[in-house]
């Protein structure tokens, strides 16, 4: 289903009003809609920070990311990966779910328990399917 960019912008303003998140979300909306379609992306927090520039704090951006990953205005999908020894190991949502329930992350390749997993599990983002249907 196609969605107009104007309607998303209107919804963002309706939800955030004059707060910085309105501008941040719109900058990110423009960024996502200009990415070439049909490619795989791996968008980190740091790369989104670069996109929005230096005018906003980490907190400002985190609020916007939380919102854009939610069901209300889903522009970003979230994935998880384990960062260790300069390598990234993809994690499934069920890996994370079990880790959160048990307090232990089992390494998906070695089967060993990952120590201090919360410091090693990173979130990254990909454009949601909605972004491909914005006109």
């Amino acid at each position: 289903m196609k969605v107009s960019k104007e309607s998303i912008v209107a919804q963002i303003y309706e939800d955030w009003g004059e707060k910085p998140q309105s501008q941040i979300c719109i900058v990110l909306l423009n960024y996502l809609t200009h990415l070439p379609k049909g490619k795989h992306y791996h968008i980190t927090f740091g790369s989104l920070k670069v996109v929005i520039g230096n005018s906003y704090t980490n907190t400002d951006l985190l609020k916007a990311i939380q919102y854009l990953c939610g069901d209300r205005t889903r522009l970003l999908d979230t994935n998880f990966e384990l960062l260790e020894d300069e390598r990234a190991v993809p994690l499934s949502h069920s890996d994370i779910e079990i880790a959160q329930a048990t307090g232990e992350l089992i390494h998906p390749k070695t089967g060993y328990t990952v120590k201090n997993f919360e410091e090693k599990v990173s979130l990254y983002f990909v454009p949601s399917s909605l972004t491909e249907n914005i006109i």
């Binding site: 980190t44 919102y67 939610g70 209300r72 779910e97 919360e118 979130l123």
Partner: protein, 213 residues
């Protein structure tokens, strides 16, 4: 300043927890993303509603004169910024105070400022007989009870007793493990014939600082 001093490329689960005091709900951000079943959605929603309520209850002085709708709107706005698809909908047989959707799942809430138990019961009836359409994707609701008088526990205990006296079909109640001043009721939903579960949620806005007297 804490926020701008820290530069990082990768956002880890640990960082979400570090920023939780600045971005309410952020530590539970992955749990919201992972809530892919109806039961997980409801459980996560209640956790987040409780967090929002505790934020509101930190400043009861701000809510002494507000009407029901204004307080509920504030809860809705908090949910929106957490990413929930929350709304105040003029549909579903009337004007539902709070509706939260995730895919095909729907939770509805009715809010009432406590003035009497019959008045709370009108809210419960609106929720049960006007707005809800119980099916596998919508079998829970919430009654948000804004209490401005002292001893919220007494109000909730009396409300529970009042509800029990209403002879609802197959009525049962159970304590809420997440929040002391909340409880669950279930009864047979008249229209669908299925069980409808309601979380009765206390929000205490009592404010009477004795140092002013």
């Amino acid at each position: 300043m804490f926020d701008s001093d820290i530069s990082f490329e990768d956002l880890t689960l640990r960082q979400l927890k570090i920023y939780e005091p600045f971005v309410p709900g952020l530590a539970r951000f992955p749990s919201r993303l992972l809530a892919d079943t109806y039961d997980k959605f409801i459980d996560q929603l209640y956790t987040d509603i409780d967090k929002i309520i505790s934020l509101l209850e930190e400043n009861p002085q701000f809510y002494q004169d507000d009407p029901e709708d204004k307080i509920t709107l504030e809860i809705k706005n908090h949910l929106l910024t957490m990413g929930y698809d929350a709304s105040h909908e003029a549909r579903m047989g009337g004007h539902v105070d709070l509706a939260v959707r995730k895919n095909d799942y729907l939770w509805i809430g009715e809010a009432k400022i406590h003035s009497s138990y019959p008045y709370l019961f009108t809210g419960f009836q609106q929720l049960s007989t006007r707005y809800s359409n119980v099916n596998s994707n919508q079998k829970d609701g919430g009654l948000l009870i804004y209490i401005r008088q002292a001893n919220a526990k007494s109000v909730m205990d009396r409300w529970k007793a009042y509800l029990e006296s209403q002879e609802l079909q197959n009525y049962m109640s159970s304590p809420c493990q997440k929040k002391d001043l909340a409880f669950f009721s279930t009864h047979t939903h008249e229209r669908s014939g299925q069980s409808f579960k309601v979380r009765h949620i206390c929000i205490s806005f009592y404010f009477n600082p004795l140092d002013r007297k």
